[in-house]
Symmetry: C2
Subunit: 409 residues, 2 copies
């Protein structure tokens, strides 16, 4: 299909990230270099914008707005979590046909790659020439066949910084708020929760315990883990993924959360794990526990964006367009890490069918045998993604002053 | 008492902030310039370090560590929330006497100023020459007789950035998560919650509604407020203080939270307002609601520290020492804002007795008549404190593409 002439549509899907607009910028700016892409349309609210013919002409946006996308978080076209019906796919091809759309780019995660693949297949069935490319995006970092996912590095940088600072806070006031549980995003994969360890410089630094969906969290063992750290340091910072299961496989959540139902893809809506674990701690250890849950702030906090992540998000957007123009379709752009140092990634390709609805979980070698921490291998993997060292903090030497009065009774 | 020769002790108290260590640095570096201050001791865990004679020799810390304090968050000496007994005050004087401590500096909020004042009074009663100075610190910004409090500007900058980004996130995915409630710190005063408005550029920007402790939150009116914004924008971002009361004066919190008791000063431990409001929304409006609660991250997140706040935190630390050496005692350093532009503050003094246990709430002129937003007067007051403009974000013009297919049935 090389040399297809026609319009292009690009959409953003799933949860926003700090760099999803950088991928949009990369794709749009690259598309402007290829005359066979006649117009560059944006689909508002993900694929819904095509179905409802809510398209905008991105080619008419000001140049400074397009470049400014790289420093603007969340999904500027609007996003969606919508599972298409067979009729929807037909409708999309009708809309594409009416506008002579020959290029479709979808920035998203597992579900979005499934949508893109099905659309690609239908276009082939209908003999409609259409290049379909997936552009990876997810703070969950759970797409397979790519070293990592744009969006992850920035959310990981925020998480590392936030847990470091929450840890310093607990060191300072641990005599009052003894246990702090930081709840971190992640549907079934603990990649982002694991990133809480990236700012740790010594074994006493936060987080002291890390719980991810890949390992069951036995409440008795959890309480023992916390007790052990508390006995040693008198303050405990726990990083826990929003979705963890107990030894019986039941998601740990507040009683009310379960009532909230499922999303459009059938994924259950969870909530309250940190709150629930705090109550266990207060009840069983008799010490105060509180939780921090940055929620959507962690995925969209632009100030903490990783420069590496921003650059790679641009790169995958550009690569998707270059490949499509060269005749590639039904593929997602991947990031491939060079062997050796310094860290460097180039782009590759994978069939959408191999990515659609597949989740890449944390492998065993990234998790400690006890299931409550990460390994050095994980740190080596993830540290380059957050983009350079974190600003240094000091510690006092704390030279003790000799006592001059008697110990108090 | 000018020219008192002896040692100094400095302590940090209450909740940590991003800049409380900058005040410590200011005081220590200033003290090193005054020969009559013979040694500079730090008290570990606030006033408890004096009572337990857990003192460290700050004069022996490396120079780069002392200057690095200004970029290290939380309370590096350790903090406490401890209400002293009459015996404790006597004990403190005993320890001071044994070490020939003639200068005491306490960095903290309302409760800490009360502690400092009582100690000052007892020293006078006991004929013990002691200069006692309070150094203001609180993200709550609720100390009276000062334009604002060091710590507030940085937490306000984080809050403004976080709510802006959470707002962009909601704009993008509001068709799924329609209502987002951001829970913000504040014991009885809404200053930090009000700061959520500081990044707002248009009436449609987040936060769309702001609820503070200074105004009762009637649940029916709250639901109506949310409904009204939802009907207009299809997504709603609410900033709510962790402590708000309903029309009957009852704190809005989860059923479980009330069981957590009170802290050492008798302040009740609250929790769950955002979660509770989310449940009201889901039940009564039938749309999805979620909450973000950055918790301690908001008060200690160094990356978002306001340069103005860091500078002023240093300044109040320096001023406290300079004043004490000049013979001033039983006072807290204040920040006094120059009239006119550009923004500039100098330091002043206020009697500790006038600050101790007094809370400065948001005045009426900073709150909208409906009690669900702030006024331009508040923005004018608070914007200089967050230290310079926030990084700019773009918005698309969104030129619509003309429809070419029929509306779908």
């Amino acid at each position: 299909m090389a040399g297809l002439k026609g319009r292009m549509v690009i959409g953003q899907s799933g949860g926003p990230t700090a760099v999803i607009n950088a991928s949009l910028a990369g794709a749009v700016l690259e598309a402007q270099r290829h005359p066979q892409i006649e117009d560059i349309y944006g689909s508002l609210e993900g694929i819904l914008g095509v179905i409802n013919e809510n398209l905008i002409d991105l080619g008419r946006e000001r140049a400074d707005v397009l470049t400014g996308l790289s420093s603007t978080p969340a999904a500027i076209l609007g996003s969606c979590r919508y599972k298409l019906t067979p009729d929807d796919y037909e409708r999309i091809l009708d809309v594409f046909h009416a506008h002579n759309v020959r290029y479709f780019f979808y920035i998203g995660g597992n579900d979005s790659m499934d949508t893109a693949h099905r659309l690609s297949q239908l276009a082939i069935d209908r003999n409609y020439d259409l290049a379909v490319m997936g552009i990876p995006k997810t703070v969950d970092n759970d797409l397979p066949h790519t070293d990592h996912c744009p969006g992850y590095g920035s959310a990981a940088r925020f998480t590392a910084l936030a847990v470091r600072d929450a840890g310093r806070d607990s060191e300072a006031i641990g005599n009052v708020d003894s246990v702090k549980i930081v709840e971190i995003m992640g549907r079934n994969a603990g990649w982002l929760t694991a990133a809480s360890a990236l700012a740790r410089e010594s074994v006493d630094d936060a987080p002291h315990l890390i719980y991810v969906p890949e390992r069951p969290v036995d409440i008795d063992r959890f309480v023992e883990d916390v007790q052990r750290v508390y006995d040693r340091l008198h303050h405990v910072v726990v990083a826990v993924c929003e979705t963890v299961r107990d030894a019986e496989g039941t998601v740990i959540e507040s009683a009310e959360a379960g009532a909230s139902g499922v999303d459009a893809f059938g994924h259950p809506q969870r909530g309250g794990v940190a709150d629930t674990l705090c109550r266990h701690i207060m009840k069983r250890l008799g010490v105060k526990a509180r939780f921090d849950k940055a929620g959507t702030i962690q995925r969209s906090f632009m100030l903490a964006a990783s420069p590496v992540d921003v650059q790679e998000a641009l790169l995958v957007g550009e690569a998707a367009v270059r490949q499509a123009v060269a005749g590639v379709s039904d593929r997602m752009v991947t990031l491939e890490r060079d062997a050796g140092e310094p860290y460097r990634c180039t782009t590759g390709l994978v069939e959408l069918a191999k990515v659609a609805n597949v989740e890449k979980l944390l492998p065993d070698e990234y998790l400690s045998p006890a299931g409550n921490d990460v390994t050095d291998a994980f740190i080596a993997y993830a540290r380059p993604l957050i983009g350079g060292p974190l600003p240094p903090y000091v510690r006092l030497a704390k030279h003790p002053v000799p006592h001059r009065v008697d110990r108090r009774e």
